[in-house]
């Protein structure tokens, strides 16, 4: 009897931390693409941070606006200075959760489609967003890929009439990150 209880206790000890496991990254890749009639603009940030709680499906992302790298130095300057106003709003964040956690088994290797819902904050404006992404679990790491549109007008990013043919109002954003277990 006593032995059995010990085994039970040991099992709980081992199993519980597994459920509570958190995954993180500091080098997530966030890319965006603007496809306007006159000009195509692309930028990449390779230092997005994210934490995912495997037990609840909750996740948080943070991207430093000044960390976006453009092909042209001047574009980068205008992006920070005129549009995103990065000295005032240094980060873009997302706080949300995987809503179909029953179908996404983060404890088992495999590829899943995850539905994500939460609040996105860009340029100091917070918006409810919903999207889907693929989650690949393999060897204890979780690879996340997602793509979604972001409308400049939704986030109070004003594109003056003269630049409408250079900068698209709808920006395509893709996220690629591999999250590893915390500690």
């Amino acid at each position: 009897m006593q032995k059995r209880l010990f085994i039970l206790a040991a099992l709980f000890l081992l199993a519980a931390p597994m459920f509570a496991q958190k995954y993180f990254t500091r080098d997530g890749k966030v890319k965006f693409f603007s496809d306007a009639s006159m000009e195509k603009i692309e930028a990449v940030n390779k230092s997005a941070t994210a934490v995912l709680d495997a037990a609840t499906g909750k996740m948080e992302w943070k991207v430093l606006i000044k960390g976006f790298l453009f092909e042209k130095a001047l574009m980068q300057e205008h992006f920070n200075e005129n549009y995103l106003e990065s000295s005032k709003y240094p980060n873009a964040t997302f706080k949300g959760e995987i809503t179909n956690l029953k179908e996404v088994n983060l404890g088992k290797d495999g590829s899943y489609t995850a539905k994500v819902k939460g609040r996105m904050n860009i340029h100091g404006v917070e918006k409810d967003v919903e999207t889907t992404g693929t989650v690949k679990v393999s060897g204890g790491a979780i690879a996340i890929h997602s793509g979604f549109p972001v409308k400049c007008s939704d986030y109070n990013i004003r594109i003056e009439a003269a630049k409408v043919s250079n900068i698209s109002n709808e920006i395509k954003v893709t996220v690629d990150a591999t999250l590893n277990p915390m500690k």
Binding site: Q2, A16, D53, E60, E71, K72, A73, L74
Partner: protein, 306 residues
């Protein structure tokens, strides 16, 4: 005794479950935030205020083509189209070797001067992990006056054509709208106009800008030359103007009292003040219209961009 063994697993379960309850807090706060250095950008819109340099550099691999004109004084009115009939021109190319080191070459129509310079950003204004209140740059320039010597009979050497400029630029972006810089400047002339002229001329410059909108700024520049260095009559150079930025172009439209765009020229050879009394005691104005147009070309894509 048995009770303890029954309670133990429950207790262990609770202990392990505790983090589950704590998850309502910030997940990101679980990562120790690495403090980063945030470098101040766009203290000025371009690498020049009007005639002289700003603390800005062009980015690595960026070529900046500059076309500058200074017209004749406005005072002749419609007769010479407020000075537009006459122009001095400078064509220049600047290139960023790194984000902190740039070089440039230019050709001035006035006195057929070829100028070259190198500018290095020693300190960058920043906040965060590394906090520095100022941007400090150093500019070294050389000018070759290729116009024919005034006195061909004299034993003219090539070195007599050479002029040098050294400048320390100390700038700060006080806010999104306001930037300011001071520039102690030394100009060296191998050959002076008169024997009373000093070869080395020290001056101190000050410049600033106020951003009116995200694309338009008002900017100004003043160089003060202390007495006793330039023997021939001279005036301190003052320039005030607007900057309009449109994507890859920056248009600088300004009023200045110097037709020169090279350092030796606008610091030591400017002769008319904004307002002055001529020899007959009549009030005159030396103000002229001028512009700089800057167009940048990215020759090299930055590293880390696929």
């Amino acid at each position: 005794m048995k009770k303890i063994y029954i309670l133990l697993p429950a207790f262990v379960l609770l202990l392990n479950a505790a983090p589950l309850f704590a998850q309502d807090g910030d997940l990101l706060s679980l990562l120790d935030d690495e403090e980063t250095t945030d470098y101040t950008t766009a203290t000025f819109k371009t690498t020049r205020i009007v005639n002289g340099h700003s603390v800005e550099n062009v980015g690595e691999g960026v070529l900046d083509f500059k076309i500058s004109h200074r017209f004749a004084p406005l005072r002749n009115g419609i007769y010479d189209m407020i000075g537009l009939d006459d122009a001095t021109i400078r064509l220049g190319l600047d290139y960023g070797i790194t984000d902190r080191l740039m070089v440039g070459l230019g050709r001035n129509s006035l006195e057929k001067i070829v100028d070259g310079f190198a500018k290095y950003k020693i300190l960058r204004q920043s906040t965060g992990k590394r906090s520095i209140p100022l941007t400090i740059s150093y500019m070294a320039g050389m000018e070759i006056k290729t116009v024919n010597f005034k006195d061909p009979e004299r034993d003219n050497k090539f070195s007599d054509r050479l002029y040098f400029a050294h400048q320390v630029l100390i700038g700060r972006k006080f806010s999104e709208r306001l930037s300011f810089q001071v520039m102690p400047t030394l100009v060296h002339r191998n050959l002076t106009t008169t024997p009373d002229d000093k070869n080395d001329v020290f001056s101190i410059g000050a410049a600033g800008r106020i951003k009116l909108s995200r694309r338009i700024t008002i900017n100004g520049e003043y160089y003060f030359v202390p007495d006793g260095q330039v023997a021939t009559p001279y005036a301190n150079c003052l320039a005030i103007g607007f900057e309009i930025e449109t994507g890859g172009h920056v248009f600088q439209l300004h009023f200045t009292n110097s037709p020169y765009m090279n350092y030796t020229g606008f610091i030591t050879q400017t002769t008319e003040d904004w307002f002055f009394e001529n020899s007959e005691g009549k009030m005159m104005s030396g103000v002229r219209f001028g512009f700089n147009i800057s167009r940048v070309f990215t020759l090299k894509k930055p590293k880390g961009l696929e």
